[in-house]
């Protein structure tokens, strides 16, 4: 085995919540039979339990503690303490035992095999839906290199980040992305963010079925909802920029069936909140009055995956049919 030619998917978890995302991401990559290695970078705040579960899913779990590194990153960090997480993410360029990597945020979910991304060159990424001349740094192809890493840190300390995060840094550094080489523009289906569903619904209807990676952008992450595994319903999902309901449910189905059992085992007797709740649905139903529900229909927002399912309508019809 020649280490030089190994390739890997890389993600990052800075705390236990993002670790859940990384676990689901890893599972989704495995389920779609990736032939690549899986690497997760974790921060010092990730618990031992989460770390042990990540070990079960990932080939390599690498602790990144920028404050403790004592290297150039530490120096950069001291100059720009606001960019803490960004420095941790940039650390992925130091994975030089891989020849090429694809970085994926922990709040992404893979819907089909995407190994073909490794045919692309650094720095390939999909456009950001908010400003398509920038790439979104949730999914990108890169070549680990200590030289690049050093230049990136240098860039950070001099220019900072125009958006306060890694995306600003990377877009500043790879500033010719939007103009130079179209092959470095990944199709949007490799990083389809939820926002597109609301900003351009017809396109989503046309192309949404082709999506290969969904990116749960926005304030609320999949793990911050609760879920009823019996009804397969995510609760509290009526939010502005929430992803398409079915993707959210996909995330929860994978999480509740394949990740929660691992977490429960890891936590043993210790208290652990999985986010899966059962039997609370009835409260939600009664908490909304009949008139409110009718209004939801009239606004085109029937809860078709929940209380307005046709099964419930049929029960209502059967009252007079009997």
């Amino acid at each position: 085995m020649t280490m030089d030619h190994e390739q890997a998917f890389v993600t990052l978890a800075t705390n236990d919540s993002y670790a859940k995302g990384a676990m689901v991401l890893g599972k989704s990559l495995r389920n779609h039979k990736t032939s690549k290695k899986l690497v997760v970078l974790i921060g010092p705040h990730v618990s031992d339990q989460s770390s042990s579960v990540l070990h079960k899913i990932y080939d390599e779990v690498k602790l990144v503690d920028v404050m403790d590194s004592g290297d150039t990153a530490h120096l950069a960090m001291m100059k720009r303490p606001d960019l803490g997480v960004t420095f941790t993410k940039l650390h992925c360029w130091t994975l030089t035992h891989y020849s090429k990597c694809v970085f994926m945020d922990a709040d992404t979910l893979v819907l089909s095999n995407i190994d073909e991304l490794f045919d692309r060159e650094e720095l390939s990424a999909a456009p950001d839906p908010g400003w398509p001349d920038c790439f979104n740094s949730g999914v990108f192809v890169f070549r680990p290199s200590n030289e690049t890493y050093g230049k990136l840190l240098q860039y950070c300390t001099v220019h900072g980040s125009f958006d306060g995060g890694d995306q600003g840094v990377l877009n500043g550094f790879f500033c010719d992305w939007s103009t130079t080489d179209i092959t470095k523009h990944l199709p949007f289906i490799y990083n389809m963010s939820s926002i597109a569903i609301y900003t351009y619904l017809p396109a989503f209807k046309q192309y949404g079925a082709n999506a290969k990676v969904v990116h749960f952008l926005g304030q609320r992450k999949p793990w911050s909802y609760t879920y009823d595994p019996k009804q397969r319903r995510v609760r509290g999902e009526i939010q502005d920029a929430t992803p398409h309901p079915s993707f959210l449910v996909d995330w929860w189905i994978l999480y509740s069936s394949e990740v929660v059992p691992l977490l429960l085992r890891a936590y043993g007797d210790l208290p652990f909140h999985s986010g899966c709740e059962e039997g609370v649905a009835q409260h939600a139903l009664s908490s909304m009055t009949s008139e409110e529900r009718k209004q939801k229909w009239e606004q085109g927002q029937a809860d078709y995956m929940g209380m307005d399912s046709f099964d419930n309508i049929q029960k209502k019809l059967d009252v007079f049919l009997k």
Partner: protein, 701 residues
């Protein structure tokens, strides 16, 4: 469209009538409710309008259609009159006295049925209240922005109100049957049932809402039928409320029907109820008095198409027009739903086969599918002009020649043939011939397309390279406009054009019924259909060896696209190998199937549905005597050993077939026998058929 057919003596001697007891129609009232009554929006109008005649014949004054009132439609299509039935008048007045408007009259179509039309706009002030009613009985709400859904609720509420007033007066006699078509009428059914109005209800869906959406969205529909989460799919497509209305009507109806076996499968998954009866769509078949008249019409109309081809392919007429077959596909421009993709691919393969077999047959394929165009293109018009010019030149030279010949004969001498034509005449003729030189291929489309570069048919033609080259045995003419008898290019109406063609090709992927191949059949033109079209399923069920009868059924349901493509290619290739005589025999057989598609037979499926609905809603009064109805058994006669195989199959061993060869005798009596063996009559197996069935079984042993 009223179609004609000739009465041939080999027409099977009447399909046996259904033996179910006739309903006591004098003690019943039949209502048929549809959004398209007097109101043409889509295809349901054709079904309802053509079916009226046979229903009036059966029900007379006790049959009423109900639809929405639109002033323009009423003025142009309806003759107002007073209701003949007092109870109906009282019910109407009750609505009118409460501020609604209801109109009554005779619809001026064949059979002139009574119509009751409800003014939607005039009743719109009740909408909020009626939304509340719908919500309280079904928990279905309607979005404010969906005008059509809201209109359907107003319509349904008026219909249900009318039925309540009507049945309150009638009590138990006469009993009422209400037959609702499509989701727009379905709300009336749901509301009527919720108010426990005593009547028998039938709901017919002609396609499912969700199925149409899913197919249009390029889902691999038939392979995933059982895997769709239908609530979710409907919700994601923002048609959840419509889907709920449709499914609620299906759930509430005493009897649920749809138009074909394939749509029954679709309905079973998309609406979660197995249809009780399949009610196929029929046509009104007109009989010619002259025998084989349709064959004569074929040749006169074929001559017109040949004229067009002479012009369109000027300068490239190196193929024998007498050995040229005309294929066509027609319909709405839904590239993959209508199977144009499969067709083009198969044509490319057919072209290859005809070339390698050095076949002298040429196939000219017409695509009649309206797209956005910018009128005819110059090259096509020029072609017709050149043809006209040649014709005129020939006429004028002929006239001069004739005159000189005549004068010579008057003088008592045979003119010198070398001098009879003057130098001028040769000049005129040479000039005309020079004009036919062309440096480009004959165009593949007759019009300037607005979306030339992205048009799916043209893009695929470019991909497969069928550019009407000299070596191509398959030539393509894409006519992206409906046909018209006033066209300067191809002055024929659709019926004439179909009659002039040899084969209609409709390899549809989504086609709940499919009138196009049905029309071909009634006109005596063979056609290709698929087992995903309602028509194909119907024919597959009713005929054994359908190819012999000019009905080629491509398997698109259980085969891969590539296999279907090969099958279609093979169908077309073997069709090309038939002799002229075999094609004539095949057309005779095709035309004999007309009776299967006539409403006088297919209307019986509706009768059965009505009987079934009565037995379910008033079980004490109406009993079904024939419980084991043979409809769902899919019974089919095997191909009898005594019957010659289909002409298409018989030529495989003899590819080089001369037209004179008379290897397949055509005997009227044998054909009659063939029909008895091969065609399954709708509904019953009469005594004769029963006997024949046994006989053929013995032969087989």
């Amino acid at each position: 469209m009223r179609l004609s057919r000739s009465l041939s003596i080999t027409s099977f001697t009447g399909l046996p009538l259904w033996e179910e007891d006739n309903l006591p129609v004098e003690d019943l009232l039949l209502f048929e409710i549809a959004w398209e009554v007097t109101n043409k929006v889509g295809g349901i109008y054709t079904v309802i309008q053509t079916k009226a005649k046979i229903t009036v014949d059966e029900w007379g004054e006790n049959y009423f259609m109900m639809g929405p009132y639109y002033e323009h439609n009423f003025k142009t299509q309806v003759e107002p009159c007073e209701p003949p039935n007092q109870a109906i008048k009282v019910a109407m007045d009750s609505l009118i006295n409460n501020g609604c408007q209801v109109h009554f009259g005779r619809w001026l179509i064949e059979g002139s049925p009574y119509v009751i039309l409800f003014d939607i706009g005039a009743a719109a002030w009740n909408l909020d209240r009626w939304k509340g009613d719908l919500w309280s009985v079904s928990s279905i709400g309607l979005p404010d922005h969906d005008r059509e859904a809201n209109d359907s609720l107003i319509f349904g509420s008026l219909v249900a109100w009318f039925f309540k007033e009507l049945t309150d007066q009638l009590q138990d006699k006469p009993n009422v049957i209400a037959h609702f078509h499509e989701w727009q009428a379905g709300t009336g059914l749901v509301l009527s049932r919720s108010r426990k109005i005593p009547m028998a209800t039938i709901f017919t869906t002609h396609a499912t809402l969700l199925g149409r959406y899913l197919c249009a969205g390029n889902a691999d529909f038939y392979n995933n039928l059982d895997k769709f989460n239908i609530d979710q799919e409907a919700g994601n497509r923002q048609i959840y409320h419509r889907y709920c209305l449709e499914r609620a009507a299906v759930h509430c109806a005493h009897v649920f029907t749809t138009v074909s076996q394939i749509t029954a499968v679709e309905a079973n998954h998309m609406l979660r109820r197995q249809p009780d009866v399949v009610t196929p769509n029929g046509l009104n078949v007109r009989k010619f008095s002259a025998m084989h008249e349709f064959q004569n019409l074929h040749s006169t109309n074929k001559a017109k198409i040949q004229e067009f081809v002479r012009g369109h392919f000027y300068g490239h007429l190196d193929f024998n027009l007498e050995k040229t077959l005309f294929f066509f596909i027609a319909g709405r421009y839904e590239f993959s739903n209508k199977g144009a993709d499969l067709f083009l691919e198969s044509l490319s393969r057919l072209n290859y086969l005809l070339r390698v077999h050095k076949n002298d047959v040429t196939v000219v394929v017409f695509f009649i599918m309206p797209a956005k165009t910018n009128n005819f293109n110059v090259e096509s018009l020029k072609g017709q002009a050149i043809r006209k010019q040649l014709w005129d030149t020939a006429q004028s030279v002929k006239e001069k020649f004739g005159k000189r010949l005549y004068e010579g004969l008057l003088r008592g001498e045979i003119p010198d043939m070398n001098k009879i034509l003057e130098r001028d005449d040769f000049t005129i003729m040479k000039r005309a011939i020079y004009a036919t030189q062309r440096h480009s291929f004959p165009p593949v489309t007759t019009h300037n397309m607005l979306d030339d570069s992205t048009d799916p048919i043209l893009s695929n033609i470019r991909r497969i390279g069928l550019f009407n080259g000299r070596n191509d045995r398959v030539k393509i003419v894409f006519h992206p406009e409906f046909l018209s008898s006033t066209s300067p290019l191809l002055p024929m109406d659709y019926e004439e054009f179909v009659r002039g063609c040899h084969l209609g090709v409709f390899p549809s992927y989504y086609e709940p019924w499919g009138y196009t191949p049905g029309e071909c059949t009634v006109l005596g033109i063979p056609s290709v259909t698929t087992n995903l079209s309602g028509f194909g399923c119907f024919m597959e069920e009713h005929i054994s060896d359908p190819s012999a009868y000019g009905i080629y059924i491509v398997d698109r349901r259980f085969r891969s696209a590539d296999e279907s493509c090969n099958q279609l290619t093979q169908f077309m290739f073997s069709f090309c190998q038939q002799s002229r005589r075999q094609r004539i025999i095949q057309r005779n057989r095709t035309e004999r199937l007309s009776d299967l598609l006539d409403w006088r037979y297919l209307g019986q499926f509706y009768m059965h549905a009505r009987h079934l609905a009565l037995s379910r809603s008033f079980p004490a009064k109406f009993k079904m005597t024939h419980l084991n109805f043979p409809l769902v058994q899919g019974f089919r006669y095997p191909t009898p050993s005594s019957v010659a195989p289909s002409p298409s199959a018989s030529v495989h061993s003899t590819p080089h077939h001369s037209d004179e060869e008379d290897d397949e005798p055509y005997d009227e009596d044998e054909e009659l026998e063939r029909d008895r063996q091969n065609i399954k009559a709708p509904f019953t197996l009469g005594a004769v058929l029963e006997g024949k069935k046994k006989q053929s079984g013995q032969n087989g042993n």
